[in-house]
């Protein structure tokens, strides 16, 4: 099972790669659509600004690869910005996104808690999913974000409380997406990545 890591030049892939190495994953990091489309599953990371990231994807043609891969039914795991730009639209740079999963990306309101949310917060299970195998309910994971995914409750795997409950883990068809950073979330995060790597559907 080969995992392709989509490298669209939005953020640093070093920690993702360290975690994949630690888990002895069979992976490639690539910016070439023809190479990625042949992988068995896709890891879609990203850090940075949504409109910039969308431009990068369009320029490189990786946006259509993402749609094509999604249609094959093979598993995709989005992380952080990669969890946001799979939705329809982002308030960050007011940009249309990939639209693989119905939903919108919204900014945390000012005047409440500090923005960005930085640190460890717990994920409360909304429904069961293979990605949560051996992950105890309310586990703490590491977040760094100013925007959050706003999706229908039926696509929520986990929710997290920050000013209000938001969706921290999405499950929609063959897409799973984490607003937090599993690669920086200690043993809980590594378990989530392991579940993704070992899934054979």
């Amino acid at each position: 099972m080969k995992t392709g890591v989509v490298d669209y030049k939005a953020g640093n892939l070093r920690s993702i790669e360290s975690a994949l190495k630690f888990l002895s994953a069979d992976y490639i990091i690539s910016d070439r659509a023809e190479e990625l489309i042949g992988c068995d599953k896709l890891l879609f990371p990203g850090v940075g600004e949504a409109a910039f990231a969308m431009n990068q994807l369009k320029r490189s043609g990786l946006d259509s690869m993402m749609h094509e891969f999604f249609r094959t039914g093979k598993e995709i795991l989005g992380i952080c910005l990669g969890c946001q730009i799979i939705l329809d639209h982002s308030e960050e740079g007011n940009t249309d996104c990939l639209g693989l999963v119905p939903g919108r990306v919204r900014r945390f309101p000012a005047g409440g808690l500090k923005v960005p949310e930085i640190g460890w917060n717990n994920i409360k299970k909304v429904r069961d999913h293979y990605i949560l195998k051996d992950v105890p309910d309310n586990s703490n994971v590491y977040f760094v974000h100013s925007y959050y995914p706003d999706v229908d409750r039926k696509y929520m795997l986990c929710e997290t409380e920050y000013m209000f409950p938001f969706c921290s883990l999405i499950g929609y068809e063959n897409v799973t997406a984490a607003q937090f950073h599993p690669e920086k979330s200690g043993k809980v995060g590594l378990q989530i990545m392991k579940n993704f790597l070992e899934c054979r559907e």
């Binding site: 640190g119 105890p136 920050y162």
Partner: protein, 256 residues
């Protein structure tokens, strides 16, 4: 609910963790990668490495340390010391650090915050700030640089606000007056800064007992607390400190 973070700080010189002892200079206290791994397994929420290597030609050693840390621990860590340009930032981030911290360099050249934030994102840029009590300043605290030796004309609160505007995603606030005393964090300074910026504030300087962390979280609204000698010499463990905080009603991460 978002947890309060306990962060361990390691000063690294020529690839070794070191600790300054008054009048004696620095003594090496261990291998930073081994120490990082030990704290990771004991539940530390984040780590900070300060490169205090004096000579430029030995700076490459730090990159090697960062790479080895990144391959073994899966929590965020930041690196500071000797970062003077966007290229320095890039090297450290590509080696596997989550964030970079700028201190004196940012005072001399504030645009480094802006440049770093626009290229790598604000979440990567930490402002390290040393503040000393000074009644001549509007906020009562003056920014000092070069490890506290050189006073600047900057007011601590004004500088924190300016750095936030420029794009700093977090502020590590070190009290020069409390640093090394082990008598507790400077609560007034921490509360004033934390209540007046919207980015997280990490309290630093003065920690000697677990009660000090409780107080800086409960009374001074710190988002995280930096510790060093408390755990480096085995007086306390990270997990023990977190047990104490939890029993005092402070939300901390305990599933590690």
């Amino acid at each position: 609910m978002l947890k309060k973070r306990v962060i361990v700080c390691l000063d690294v010189r020529d690839g070794k963790t070191t600790k300054g002892i008054k009048f004696k200079g620095n003594v090496d206290i261990g291998d930073p990668v081994e120490m990082a791994e030990k704290y990771y397994l004991d539940g530390v929420d984040e780590l900070v490495f300060y490169d205090i290597t004096a000579s430029a030609e030995k700076r490459g050693i730090m990159i090697d340390v960062v790479e080895r840390v990144a391959s073994k621990i899966f929590i965020p860590f930041s690196v500071g010391g000797g970062i003077a340009s966007v290229d320095d930032m890039r090297r450290v981030l590509l080696a596997g650090a989550e964030k970079i911290s700028v201190n004196s360099q940012a005072v001399r050249n504030p645009s480094i915050i802006e440049e770093g934030a626009s290229i790598f994102g604000r979440q990567c840029i930490v402002l390290g700030m040393d503040a000393a009590r000074d009644s001549a300043m509007p906020s009562g605290y003056r920014v000092v640089i070069n490890g506290g030796r050189v006073p600047t004309e900057l007011d601590a609160l004004a500088w924190a606000k300016q750095a936030e505007k420029l794009g700093a995603g977090e502020i590590v606030l070190n009290s020069i007056d409390a640093d090394g005393t082990r008598d507790g964090y400077e609560l007034n300074l921490t509360k004033m800064i934390s209540d007046n910026v919207s980015v997280p504030v990490v309290a630093s300087g003065g920690a000697g007992r677990p009660e000090h962390l409780r107080d800086v979280f409960a009374k001074a609204n710190a988002d995280a607390a930096l510790i060093a000698s408390m755990v480096h010499y085995g007086d306390y463990s990270v997990s023990g400190i977190k047990d104490f905080l939890r029993s005092s009603g402070i939300p901390v991460r305990s599933d590690f």
